[in-house]
């Protein structure tokens, strides 16, 4: 668990260039909001549970994974995605990334008590991550699409508090 916080922080600093920190931070926040909501539902339906967790009393959900680690993974994914490449290479990038995350989740499930599947299997996890990643990606693309309006808003925010 501690390792995930360390590697997550290191990954954010190492793999996201400084000039893209805002974009990384935004995609981190967005993915966090979405994964929290979706996992809330899957946990409420008893599809999976987390036997060992950070706040055992306050929530049944794994805080490190949902609040920090997976959002960071998405931020790294999103910032390093090359939007100019062809459809095919974008698809492979997406596919490989989702598969690695799924594999990671499966390894956690099998060898630790951080997460346990009830009705989930490796392919529903794959679909789950595929869904989360594509929704977040669409939202982020929309958010960063309109540069003009983005800059109009910037003009509002030039004053300090």
């Amino acid at each position: 668990m501690l390792a995930m916080w360390l590697f997550g922080t290191a990954g954010f600093i190492l793999f996201i260039p400084r000039k893209d920190w805002r974009m990384g931070f935004f995609s981190f926040l967005l993915f966090q909001a979405i994964i929290w909501l979706v996992d809330m539902i899957t946990f409420a339906l008893d599809w999976q549970h987390a036997p060992v967790r950070e706040f055992p009393k306050a929530t049944h959900m794994p805080l490190t994974l949902d609040y920090f680690f997976y959002p960071v993974s998405f931020a790294i994914y999103y910032v390093n995605k090359k939007s100019k490449d062809g459809l095919w290479s974008r698809f492979i990038y997406f596919f490989v990334w989702i598969s690695v995350i799924t594999l990671f989740d499966n390894v956690l499930e099998r060898y630790t008590d951080l997460i346990a599947y009830d009705k989930m299997t490796w392919y529903t996890i794959w679909l789950d991550f595929g869904f989360l990643y594509s929704v977040s990606q669409v939202c982020c693309n929309w958010y960063f699409k309109d540069r003009d309006s983005f800059q109009t808003e910037q003009r509002w925010e030039t004053h300090e508090n």
């Binding site: 000039k19 805002r22 974009m23 931070f25 935004f26 926040l29 967005l30 966090q32 909001a33 929290w36 909501l37 809330m40 946990f43 409420a44 706040f55 055992p56 009393k57 306050a58 929530t59 049944h60 959900m61 805080l63 609040y67 958010y143 960063f144 540069r147 309006s149 983005f150 800059q151 109009t152 808003e153 910037q154 003009r155 509002w156 925010e157 030039t158 004053h159 300090e160 508090n161």
Partner: protein, 158 residues
């Protein structure tokens, strides 16, 4: 239906209404403020419940979470979005300070009333002024983040 569920429903509707009133050209700021606020409310909400300072007897997703989903995931972030969208940039420091005080006070007042008369919220080891101070501080932090995020600069956003 119990009065508590009516309040939750009302909060959802009211928060959505506030969202709809946000001008279209300010929507990026609103979303960013909302997401930022979630980052803090999730975490602080969980810590507070874990330490047994506050409890929420009636809540959404009761089997998964002991914190208040509607308030921490939706209502308070929406208020924060509104706070930043209509932030009085050009006014005097005193007025801006009053803006913070006003938002924090209204929210605290609402919380105290809810605490007193409903089962949505129960203070165990908690006081209204802790709520007030934490609201003020989180508003301020999110405001700083927003200023940083939308700062004009050499940075490319694409």
């Amino acid at each position: 239906m119990r009065i508590e569920w009516w309040i939750i429903l009302f909060v959802y509707v009211a928060a959505t209404g506030v969202l709809l009133f946000i001008p279209k050209n300010r929507i990026h700021l609103a979303i960013f403020a909302l997401l930022c606020k979630q980052l803090f409310t999730f975490f602080i909400g969980l810590v507070v419940v874990e330490l047994g300072l506050i409890e929420y007897p009636i809540r959404c997703f009761p089997s998964v979470n002991r914190t208040s989903f509607v308030y921490e995931y939706y209502a308070y972030p929406v208020v924060c979005a509104a706070f930043n969208v209509w932030y009085p940039n050009d006014s005097s420091p005193l007025y801006r300070f009053g803006y913070y005080v006003g938002f924090s006070s209204v929210l605290t007042l609402g919380e105290v009333i809810i605490e007193k008369y409903t089962l949505l919220l129960n203070y165990i080891h908690w006081e209204w002024y802790i709520t007030w101070v934490s609201l003020f501080i989180t508003f301020y932090i999110v405001r700083l983040l927003c200023v940083w995020f939308f700062k004009k600069g050499k940075v490319s956003y694409m």
